[in-house]
Symmetry: D2
């Protein structure tokens, strides 16, 4: 039976502004990416989210962002390299400290939004982020887009790379995600999403407009703000009960 | 010869907004309180300030604040206790992580501005802050107003307390600082400031409007935004060269 | 048939952080209080909310706050009086300008959250806010708690006062709202809420734990973040169709 | 005798963070660009700066920015066009309202930093900004780089364009400013700066590395954060007293 890790972006609420449904998601996933305050995630939300992860035995990753609360970290901001590194170190450190104060362990870093997309392709920024991570803790892994340039950069810089695939996003023939600006970028039915998950896990394949391509991943992301997230994950758990699938934290 | 620690608030610049003169101050002091982003201190400023402290062999403390960039942390904000703790943990963690990534060690915490004043008297907030600090690292000390209630609270909670005195502020007969709103609260001549330093270090005494009172301290604060700060510290170093005084980091 | 104005707090989303359900509420109310950026309401949200109000022929009020995005403006911040006035003027001006640029008119100001509560009782802050409003536009009204001190202050300062009552909050025998910290402060059934509305509109009375008290209002607030808000307002519209009630903008 | 307007960026302080020396500059200039809160300029600073401008009979312009306090508005942020327009309208409105509340008049808009540079070349953003300005007030002018594409765009959109030249920046042969990243971009002597001013005013010419080029301007900017700003402006006033030059607000 194939084993796979499921991750969600969590802890993105900010004060009175609520995002996602972390309490319902946490029992259904094996890893979580916790916002660090720069696109979402005020300190109290972070603290509560770490506790929730620990209570549900969910592996904890940091989810740092460009400093852009108003834009939810979805806009590219060209920071000087030293500032980018400091921004990343600040955020990861805050989450790491809070996690350890509650008896937990920070396992990995998954950059958020525009920063995720940037380091998938921009090697200079990727190296900066990787070096910042390694300065904080040499045992941290970095999670990023499976098949992207980042995979090679990570190998060069000798950091464990967690290959991520997406359950609810359509892929382009070149292995990139269809951009959100395109109509068809998000898969909106539970059935198709689960089919994509099974294709990835069982066959290492994903559909595109021009036929299947290879996709090998260590973890599958379900977007927590997808209104179908809970339903999709419950369906995944049905497959687990039917022994078609096993959910298991990726190892570092 | 009497030994004493001198500390300054540093790292309070924010992006293009420059505060203080950290480069000139650092070589003259033994401990520094580095802003953590909530009243000043963007990530790059923090990183540079930690490096500056390490290069000058200056002991590093965290300087967390209420979340109030517009008010520079000088306004009391009544946070729920769990939120106050999370806010403090977030800031200390960020500084601790960056410091350790550069090979340094975080030694203590000195709350900033309105939070400093609040925990000097408000035991509930003081306990919350102390517990937050200890959850992060049991070896951290807390720096606060010498002679304040916080001294007792720290003893009760079993955290090392660093008694702080002020070189450039007038004291009230009850041992409190004359509030900044009063005309005479800040000492504005180098001579008087140095005299106050010597009185504290050599005799454990400080002048008030109604006669001298006892004041025992582990560290003396020079406000970095005092335009005379450099001059005062240079005068202090003259006293060091004349062997009237020795500057030494407080021990924890 | 009794006429009454219904108002909601709207435009409180911030970037990707969504609050309330303005599109569903707007067609059901006669006045709206639009956030101005300091507790919620980024510029694009403000622009869209003003358009929505104009399209639904809803009267527009500004909803300024203490500067406190993380606390959603629900924490008291003691600002110097000149800063409080500037903070209020800045926010109202931004909304007024955007409203007029779209062909609309700003009619009134309803301070938000902790600022609403503060000026209900603190005459110094109330006068400061009123003077700030009148400096911007002498024709603006101020909306506040019916029966509060602010009513007298407004009369003294010669600004039109809009007396506000609450549909979904329990009242104390002295006419104040039961504080949110008390268990019973929010009315949680549609029936009771509608009964309270009818009591206020038809008889000028509201129930308290110790019997009915007088309550004369110009406008009734339905909290947009009350999950029953839409249902309550639909029930109100049923009463309108049954000619028990008429919804009408208050006049200034 | 040639007449020319001098402008400075002012009101850029933020709470305790002080930028520039507005009190000394204001008596020496004829127009000022006041920050609107998004790269600098808290509400109280704005209010005080408007008063200072009015007391010195200085013409008032709005100085809106991308939302980027940490980066002082110097980083390009790709906002969707409708958001860019809302961001600009929000900021100009806040300044316009405060200015009018103090009996003044907003005359023009000079976008700040990265937004200034973007609209000099990016016609789509330029049109968006111009339309936003005109929706607020058809009589407002826009100030921008003399000789840039924006000049044509402004003409097309029928908004008065104020051609701006720079006293203390070196020009490229193509009429653009030498980028700040280049060593030689800022002129650092008072004499050369004044010579550049005289060349522009008297001959409509400016030096470049490859010879003089034409430069016709309506207003000359002195950067307030240039440490020589006061000295340069005093030298300009000496020329005024010697009747070599006359300082006069540009007309709209």
């Amino acid at each position: 039976m194939k084993e796979i890790d499921f991750n969600c972006d969590v802890g993105e609420s900010y004060g009175n502004f609520k995002v996602g449904n972390d309490e319902a998601l946490m029992p259904l996933i094996s890893s979580c990416n916790i916002a660090c305050g720069f696109h979402g995630g005020d300190p109290l939300t972070i603290e509560k989210t770490v506790k929730l992860a620990l209570n549900n035995n969910v592996q904890i990753g940091a989810h740092p962002s460009y400093p852009d609360l108003m834009g939810f970290g979805r806009r590219y901001i060209q920071l000087p390299i030293d500032e980018l590194q400091a921004v990343v170190k600040y955020q990861i450190s805050s989450l790491k400290g809070i996690t350890e104060s509650l008896g937990g362990k920070l396992s990995y870093v998954k950059p958020h939004g525009a920063l995720y997309n940037s380091i998938a392709n921009n090697e200079e920024e990727a190296i900066a982020v990787i070096e910042a991570i390694l300065m904080l803790d040499e045992d941290l892994a970095i999670m990023g887009l499976a098949g992207s340039k980042l995979e090679n950069t990570a190998q060069k810089k000798n950091i464990k790379f967690i290959k991520e695939g997406f359950a609810d996003r359509n892929y382009l023939p070149n292995g990139n995600l269809a951009p959100r600006s395109e109509e068809d970028s998000v898969i909106s039915s539970v059935e198709e999403t689960v089919a994509q998950i099974l294709g990835i896990v069982e066959k290492g394949k994903v559909k595109t407009a021009e036929g299947e391509i290879d996709l090998y991943v260590d973890s599958i992301c379900i977007h927590g703000d997808n209104p179908l997230a809970i339903e999709i994950l419950q369906e995944v758990h049905n497959l687990v009960h039917q022994q078609q699938l096993s959910i298991k934290k990726f190892t570092i």
